[in-house]
């Protein structure tokens, strides 16, 4: 039998294996992508109600006598006035049949705890409102919100339902009279954290993440690139350099919580930097991302054709000049890839921030890198741990915001990478 025939005979089996192999490759990708889609759909379906806000329309009487202030009162006085009164009065007006104490409490909880502050802020803005009657859309309580969105099933027997028959009846009455409206939840993007689901916003966490990542980027990018340049272009071959290399590789494998311990011991305790601040969070995360960026940058620098270096040297450029004028711009796309992976990791990280006090309830929006703040993944973590059911949808919405952040960051990097990519 000649060779050609032997080969021919083997072919059928080999081609079967080939197809099998290719199919396996395709299946792997499809599996991974399906999984991603599954996760994303899960998040999106859970998140969408968070972007809708239920409001209750009430006509309040801003009676000077009840509030104890008038249009001339200063801000301090308005601040300390009790704005619950007009709201409660309005509710009682709508449902005059409610008389018992306990029932009243239930009734008052139709509007959010934030409603009084909503009213107060309106009055501070425009003191002329005092003494007038106003029809205002107040934020609804999370239970009302849940009933309207259908998260609480009205058909369940009363014993299994969180919102009892009385309250449900009121809600339905308000609904029938058109006093309940829904709209896009701008508040979610404009407010800081709150313990009331309907009032909780993501702005503080978004800014916190932004500040933290800016610090991380500002520190880790230049340092990592400098380190990579040194190790690739200038480092002599000796034990010290070997030691640096081993350390960098090892740091890539250190669990992130250990970086938190480092941050606590060194930056907060030793250098007495502020707790809960993006500056410390950023430093800790940048230490964590350094190895990733260094490793990626080194391979990018390695991949720059030596001819480019030689061309510059041959013209009388110094080594430093050849590196900064030619090698670095050429390696930038690869460096950016490493940066993006590192920053994505930093964006989603919680554990190290736990140790430096960023797992915290912070309502005020951070104004600078030294103000107390949280970050998006921690907000997710905190909300996921809250007893109130209304936080379930907020949690998913926060995850969506985080993913949006991630994708936006990636898109910028991919754009930059395209821009710097040059063919030779």
């Amino acid at each position: 039998m000649n060779n050609t025939d032997i080969v021919k005979q083997s072919l059928k089996k080999r081609y079967f294996k080939e197809r099998l192999f290719k199919t396996m490759g395709m299946l792997s990708i499809v599996t991974a992508i399906l999984f991603l889609l599954l996760l994303l759909t899960d998040i999106f379906t859970k998140a969408w109600p968070a972007f809708i806000q239920t409001r209750v329309e009430l006509t309040v009487d801003l009676n000077e006598a009840d509030l104890g202030i008038d249009a001339q009162s200063d801000e301090q006085a308005i601040m300390s006035a009790d704005f619950r009164k007009p709201i409660r009065a309005a509710l009682l007006n709508t449902f005059p049949e409610v008389t018992k104490r306990k029932q009243k409490r239930e009734l008052y909880s139709l509007t959010s705890m934030g409603a009084e502050f909503q009213l107060r802020d309106m009055v501070i803005e425009n003191p002329q409102l005092i003494g007038t009657q106003q029809t205002i859309q107040f934020m609804a309580d999370d239970d009302v919100d849940a009933v309207i969105k259908g998260t609480i099933d009205r058909l369940l027997p009363e014993s299994d339902r969180r919102v009892k028959n009385d309250k449900l009846g009121w809600i339905e009455t308000l609904e029938a009279s058109g006093q309940i409206t829904t709209g896009f939840n701008w508040h979610f993007f404009a407010a800081g954290d709150s313990r009331e689901p309907e009032m909780a916003g993501i702005k503080g966490a978004i800014l916190g993440s932004l500040y933290t990542l800016l610090v991380t980027l500002a520190l880790s990018f230049p340092v990592a690139v400098a380190a990579a340049i040194y190790l690739e272009e200038f480092a002599p071959k000796n034990r010290f350099i070997d030691f640096i290399e081993i350390n960098i590789n090892n740091l890539a494998a250190v669990p992130s919580i250990v970086f938190g311990l480092l941050g606590l011991a060194v930056f907060i305790n030793f250098f007495s930097m502020p707790r809960s601040a993006p500056i410390v969070g950023g430093i800790v995360l940048s230490l964590m991302t350094l190895p990733t960026i260094i490793i990626a940058s080194r391979s990018a620098i390695k991949a720059v054709p030596p001819s480019l270096r030689e061309a510059a040297l041959g013209l009388g450029a110094s080594k430093m000049q050849s590196v900064f004028h030619h090698v670095l711009p050429a390696a930038l796309p690869g460096i950016l890839t490493g940066t993006i992976i590192g920053m994505a990791q930093a964006l989603g990280e919680t554990a190290p921030l736990l140790m430096i006090g960023m797992v915290a309830f912070i309502v005020d929006i951070p104004q600078s890198v030294t103000d107390p703040s949280t970050v998006l993944p921690i907000q997710v973590f905190l909300w996921a741990d809250s007893p109130e059911r209304g936080f379930l949808e907020k949690t998913s919405a926060a995850i969506m915001v985080l993913l949006f952040f991630l994708i936006a960051m990636n898109a910028i990097a991919i754009y930059l990478r395209k821009k710097f990519e040059k063919k030779w």
Partner: protein
């Protein structure tokens, strides 16, 4: 041309090397090298080469692959410094000054002894910026107008200006291979070096591009001293005044190009020239 298909065996090539045949020295040397040895770690790549490079001349270095042509060339402007394991022994004098002495700054040296590489390697920048790079880092011009002039001048000298004058700010990497190589030459000329080293500058190019480069070399020798490495004997014959033949790290023979190609003195040179190997 005589076609030979019988081959010497390996052993017959192991000839005892004596001194270089021909006239390695010359009257008006721009660069003189004396007893140069080059090592890559423990591996000696150049053995005891002494050779003068005459001013305003073209000298061609030829020899089989791996014989050390590039290595020798790169000692002349200390490009070998960039290779960690490379060590150079012996004396190399540029205008009588040792270029390997401590005080010599290799950067300044390379500005005086420019280099053109085998593969065209323009920077990923515009044509203008490619040529302007050298003058800029050395501060050769005082203002934009002077720089413009210098760039134009260099491109003209390199015979490229007509082809690119309308797209000076287009990327240099978008040129054809031959144009790129001329761009690299223009870039080297712009620094106004005294010597230009060329390592197989046309080996990657098609015949038409090669022809242009060779024309250019002929013109450049008026102003510059040129050392060219080539694997094409025809090319060596066309462009050089002197030719040096290397073999296994040794300089076997040097002489007038005509003489080397028509009447080589050393057995090895003759074998190489007549195409019995290489």
């Amino acid at each position: 041309m005589k076609v030979q298909s019988n081959r010497e065996t390996e052993d017959s090539l192991n000839i005892e090397y004596t001194d270089t045949v021909g006239q390695p020295l010359c009257d008006d040397p721009k660069i003189s090298t004396r007893n140069v040895d080059v090592f890559y770690a423990d591996n000696q790549a150049i053995h005891d080469v002494s050779l003068d490079i005459g001013a305003h001349q073209v000298i061609a270095l030829i020899g089989p692959s791996g014989c050390g042509k590039s290595t020798y060339l790169r000692t002349l402007n200390r490009m070998n410094d960039t290779i960690d394991i490379c060590r150079v022994k012996g004396q190399i004098l540029l205008d009588g000054h040792d270029i390997y002495q401590k005080k010599q700054d290799p950067v300044l040296l390379r500005a005086r002894v420019g280099m053109v590489f085998q593969k065209p390697n323009p920077f990923p920048k515009s044509i203008y910026d490619n040529v302007a790079y050298g003058p800029r880092i050395h501060g050769l011009t005082r203002n934009k107008a002077e720089l413009d002039d210098l760039v134009e001048d260099s491109l003209i000298k390199a015979g490229l200006f007509q082809e690119v004058k309308d797209r000076l700010h287009a990327p240099g990497t978008g040129l054809s291979g031959g144009q790129q190589q001329r761009l690299c030459i223009a870039r080297t000329i712009a620094v106004q070096p005294e010597v230009i080293l060329m390592d197989e500058p046309a080996s990657a190019l098609d015949p038409i591009a090669t022809a242009k480069i060779e024309e250019l070399i002929n013109e450049l020798k008026e102003n510059f001293t040129i050392v060219i490495v080539t694997h094409s004997m025809q090319q060596a014959a066309r462009v050089s005044q002197r030719t040096a033949y290397f073999h296994m790290g040794r300089l076997i023979e040097v002489g007038e190009t005509d003489q080397i190609f028509t009447n080589p003195s050393h057995e090895l040179t003759e074998k190489y020239i007549t195409g019995r190997f290489g």
